[in-house]
Amino acid sequence: LAKTTQPISMDSYEGQEVNITCSHNNIATNDYITWYQQFPSQGPRFIIQGYKTKVTNEVASLFIPADRKSSTLSLPRVSLSDTAVYYCLVGGIAGFQKLVFGTGTRLLVSP
C-alpha cells in the first residue's frame, strides 16, 4: 500500500478555506485516495474519496492532479468544529481493503 506524507499540523481561522495536501508518490493504478476526519475520543469518519480530477460533496472537495502523486483536501469556510485530525489514505476501495493510517494533519481552527 502506498505511503502518504502530509503536514503534521495546520492552523486556520473561522471562515477561511483550508487546503491540506497529501503526497503519495507510489500510488498504484487501482488505488483510490480517501480522507478521514477524527475528533478527540471518537473514531475516524469518512469525508471524501476520489480517483482522479475533482470530487465534491457537501463537506469538502478533493483535488487530484493528472499524475495522482498528490491530492488536496479543501475545506471551505472552516468553523471551530472542524478542528480535528485529517488523514489521507491511499489504497483500494475502503470496503475491501484494510486502511493504512499515517500520522494525519492536526487542524486547529481559531476564532
Binding site: Y32, T34, S41, Q42, G43, P44, R45, F46, Q49, Y87, I93, A94, G95, F96, K98, L99, V100, F101, G102, T103, G104
Partner: protein, 115 residues
C-alpha cells in the same frame, strides 16, 4: 440507524488479566475490522472479518490476541494475558462491501489501560 458500537468505552485492568472488547457493527455489514492506536503511534490495522471468517489477520500482534465473530454479527477481541504495551485505543469499523463500497464506519473506540 445505529452506528458501530463498542463496549466498554473504557477498561482498566492489571497486567496479566484478561479483557474482552466487543464490537457491534452496523446491521447488514459483512466486513468488520479491528484497529488500534497505542500511545503516540498511528492507528494500525489488526484484522478483518468477512461475515464470520477471518479474511486478514496480518496485523494481530501476537497470540495473546484472539478475535471472533459469532455468526457473522458482533465481534469480540480478547487479550489474554494483557501486557502493559497493550494499552491504547481499540477501534472497530464495519462496511457493507460490494463493488461500489467507499467507506468504513468506525465506532468510538475502547480505551484500554493496562497497569
Amino acid at each position: 440507524e445505529a452506528g458501530v458500537t463498542q463496549f466498554p468505552s473504557h477498561s482498566v485492568i492489571e497486567k496479566g488479566q484478561t479483557v474482552t472488547l466487543r464490537c457491534d457493527p452496523i446491521s447488514g455489514h459483512d466486513n468488520l475490522y479491528w484497529y488500534r492506536r497505542v500511545m503516540g503511534k498511528e492507528i494500525k490495522f489488526l484484522l478483518h472479518f468477512v461475515k464470520e471468517s477471518k479474511q486478514d489477520e496480518s496485523g494481530m500482534p501476537n497470540n495473546r490476541f484472539l478475535a471472533e465473530r459469532t455468526g457473522g454479527t458482533y465481534s469480540t477481541l480478547k487479550v489474554q494475558p494483557a501486557e502493559l504495551e497493550d494499552s491504547g485505543v481499540y477501534f472497530c469499523a464495519s462496511s457493507q462491501g460490494g463493488p461500489r463500497e467507499t467507506e468504513a464506519f468506525f465506532g468510538q473506540g475502547t480505551r484500554l489501560t493496562v497497569v
